[in-house]
Homo-oligomer: 401 residues x 2
C-alpha cells in the first residue's frame, strides 16, 4: 500500500482546521564561520512562542543533499512524493504567469532567437529583448491558428514566452527544438509516441508559421521550443485528504502549484497583513489554508542577509493574528533553504514547527536551525509533514486493529 | 533487493541471545502543559541503567502521524513492513481468542443481530447480549456443517463471535454482510475472484442455516459477517533471521501475532514475575525471546495516568532478573504510544533502548521521551529495529566486499 492509499483509508471527517505557513527559502547559513543564520539572527518572539508550545524539527524537502526548485519543494509539503510527481518545465512556466493550465493542454516554454540568412542560430536569446518588446512580438504570434487545436501564446519576460496547445490526444514526449548551440539550425520536433507525434506535428507547423510571421523582425525572427509538458495526473488535495483547501499566495507560480493540486486560489494584496485579512475573511469556508510568503526566498536569492532577517521579522509579526483564529494545527516551515550566502536555493534542511494541543513537548523555546536540531520531530521528510498535520488535526483513524 | 532478502544474505550462525521486551503503548504525553509524561514521571532505576549502558532513541511504528493498531505495531517490531503485511480483522479476532489460525483458513468476525419480521435489521448488536448468552447461542451455530469445508464457531464477547472456514482454495476477498445500518436486510456475500466466490457461497449457505437454527431466539435471531481474511503469506521468523524464537505473552492477541510469524508460544502466569520465570526456564532452548507486557497500554487506554506510571515501575522491577541471564542484546520498546491523556493509541514515537556490549554510548542516563530525543538511535523506523538487534547480536556479516 502506498502512502496516498493509506491516507485515503485512514482519513475521517472532522471540522478541524489546519494552517500551513510556508516561508519560501526559510532556512539559511551563517555568512561568517561561527556566526548565526538569518533565522537565528532575527528577533521572532511569535515564532519562538510557537516553538515553546509546539514541536519542532528539520524538514528534508526531497533527499539529503538534493536542492529542490519551487515545484518539488511545494509538492512535498503538500504530501506528494517529489520524485514521483514531476511538474514539467513548460507547466511551471505557464503557472508562473498565472495561465490556467488544464487537462487537455501541452505547455511549452518558448524562446525568441535570431536566425542568420543561412537559417542557423546567431543568438539563442534574440539579444535579450526588453519585456515590452517580448509582448509586442508575442502579439504577432497570437495571429497563428489552425483547426483542431487551440493555441495560446503569452509573454513571460525578455526572450521568454509560454506556448500552450489545447486539444484532444496531445502528448508531451517531444524533444526541445533548441539545439543549445549557435551556428546550427533549430531542431525539428519529434514525438516519442503517437499522441506526442501529433503534438510535434502541431509544433513544427506552428514554428513554420511563426518564422513566416516574424521573418522581418530584426532580432526576434524565430523561436525555439523547450520543456513540452502535459498536465500532471495528480490526485487533488480534496480527494486525497478530504479537506477543502485554499491558497493565499502573492506570486503566480505558487498560486499555480496550489491550483495544480486542486486548491482554491484566494486573491489578496501583496503584504502579509492583507494575506491575513483574506485568511480571516475565508476562515469559515475551508478546512486547510496554505499561506505562501515569498520574501524570505527573494532576499536570500539577492544575497541580502540583513534584508532576509528583516523579512523573517515581518512575517513573525502576523503570527498572532493567524493564531487568534485558533487553527487546530498551525505549521511554519519552508519549501527549501535559500541561504543569502549562496544567492540561491540550497539542500540544507528546513526549520519547521507544528503547534497543536496534541504535540509532545520537546523543551525548546527558540525558532532556529540549531534549535530545531534538538526538536521532537527530528529530521523528517517534507512529504510526511501532511501526515503529521492530519494526525494532529484528529483527521486519521487507527491503522489496523 | 528488499530488506528481507538482505537479512537472508547477511545473517550468520551464532549462539547469541536477544530479548525483546515490549511494553505495549509505552510512550505517552504530559497531562498538563509543561508537565512530564508517564515514563518521565515513573521511577525506573533499572531502565535508566539500561539507558546509561545502552543506546536510546525513538521508534516510529509505521510512518510519522500514523497511529497503529497492535497488529501493525508488532509486525514492525518483528521486522515486517506494516504497510506490506496486513493482518485482516477476521484473523486478529481469531488470534484474540487464541484460535490457532492456519494456512487453509478464512477467518471472519461474526456479529449477532436482531431481525424484524420483515427480515430487516432491528438491532445490529442484538441488544448487546451477555458473553454467557453469546456462548449459549454459539453452541447452536456449532451444529452447522456441510461437506468439503470444516467450520469453527467460537464466542468472543457480547454479540461478537469468530467464524473460521477451513478448506482448500478459499479466498478472502468477500464483502461484509453487515450493511452498517438498521431497517435494511443483511447483505449477501459476494466474492471478488473465483476462490473468494467459493468462500462467499459457503458464507451465504452458513448464514441461511444459521438463520434457521436461530429463528426462535428472541434477540440473537440472525448474524452478520465482517472482515473475511485469509492467513497472511508471511516468512517465518526462523526462515528470516535463522533464530529459534519464543513468545511469552499473557494476552491471546499477542500470542497470536507471535504465532503468525512462527514463534513458539510459552505459557506463563499473568504477572511479569511469572513471565521472567518462564524465560529463565526456557533460556537454553531459544535464540530470541519476545516478552509482551500489556498493562502499560491498558492503563493508558483507561486514561489512568498514575496507574500507567505504576505499571511502568512494576515492569522496571523485573529488568535485573532478565539481565542476570546475560542476553547479548536486550531491547526495551513499545509497539506504539498510548497516552493516558488520549485514552487510546497515538502516533507519537516510542522510547526505545538497546543494551549490548557493541553499542556506541550516547551519554544519556534516564529513560524518557525527551531523553530519547537526544539518543544515539535518533528517530528510526520500528521495522529497522530487528536489523539493529541482529547487528548487536553479531548475527550479520558484511554487505558487499
Amino acid at each position: 500500500m502506498n502512502i496516498h492509499e493509506l491516507i485515503h483509508e485512514l482519513r475521517v471527517p472532522s471540522k478541524t482546521k489546519i494552517v500551513l505557513l510556508v516561508a519560501d527559502g526559510l532556512g539559511g547559513l551563517p555568512i561568517v564561520k561561527g556566526g548565526l543564520t538569518e533565522l537565528e539572527t532575527a528577533n521572532t518572539p511569535n515564532f519562538d512562542a510557537c516553538v515553546a508550545e509546539g514541536v519542532s524539527g528539520l524538514s528534508t524537502p526531497v533527499l539529503p543533499g538534493i536542492t529542490p526548485g519551487s515545484g518539488p519543494g511545494h509538492l512535498a509539503l503538500f504530501g506528494y512524493d517529489p520524485l514521483q510527481y514531476r511538474i514539467g518545465r513548460g507547466i511551471l512556466e505557464a503557472l508562473g504567469i498565472n495561465f490556467a493550465v488544464g487537462a487537455k493542454d501541452v505547455s511549452i516554454r518558448g524562446n525568441f532567437c535570431t536566425l542568420g540568412k543561412d537559417g542557423t542560430i546567431v543568438d539563442r536569446r534574440a539579444g535579450r529583448p526588453t519585456t515590452n518588446r517580448c509582448v509586442e512580438v508575442v502579439e504577432k504570434l497570437k495571429t497563428i491558428a489552425f483547426p483542431g487545436v487551440e493555441i495560446f501564446v503569452e509573454p513571460v519576460k525578455e526572450h521568454r514566452f509560454v506556448l500552450v496547445f489545447r486539444g484532444d490526444g496531445l502528448g508531451g514526449n517531444v524533444n526541445d527544438t533548441d539545439p543549445q548551440n549557435i551556428g546550427v539550425p533549430p531542431l525539428v520536433a519529434h514525438g516519442a509516441d503517437a499522441p506526442s507525434q501529433r503534438t510535434a506535428a502541431v509544433a513544427n507547423e506552428f514554428l513554420a508559421k511563426a518564422f513566416e510571421v516574424l521573418k522581418n523582425e530584426p532580432d526576434c525572427n524565430a523561436a525555439t521550443l523547450r520543456g513540452f509538458a502535459t498536465y500532471p495526473n495528480i490526485t487533488t488535495f480534496r480527494d486525497l485528504y478530504g479537506m477543502k483547501a485554499a491558497a493565499i499566495a502573492v506570486y503566480p507560480m505558487y498560486k499555480g502549484l496550489a491550483r495544480l493540486v486542486g486548491m482554491d486560489i484566494l486573491d489578496a494584496g501583496v503584504t502579509p497583513e492583507s494575506q491575513v485579512e483574506r485568511l480571516q475573511a475565508a476562515w469559515n469556508d475551508y478546512d486547510f489554508f496554505f499561506l505562501h510568503y515569498k520574501y524570505t526566498d527573494s532576499t536570500g536569492e539577492d544575497g541580502n542577509f540583513p534584508l532576509k532577517v528583516q523579512m523573517i521579522e515581518s512575517l513573525d509579526k502576523i503570527v498572532p493574528q493567524i493564531r487568534e483564529l485558533k487553527p487546530d494545527v498551525f505549521i511554519v516551515t519552508g519549501d527549501h533553504s535559500t541561504p543569502s550566502k549562496f544567492h540561491t536555493h540550497s539542500f540544507h534542511p528546513v526549520p519547521t514547527v507544528i503547534v497543536a494541543d496534541t504535540v509532545r513537548p520537546d523543551g525548546l523555546n527558540k525558532f532556529g536551525e540549531r534549535d530545531c536540531l534538538k526538536g521532537g520531530l527530528g529530521h523528517f521528510q517534507a512529504q510526511h509533514l501532511m501526515l503529521l498535520a492530519m494526525a494532529h488535526a484528529g483527521r486519521f483513524g487507527k491503522y489496523g486493529a
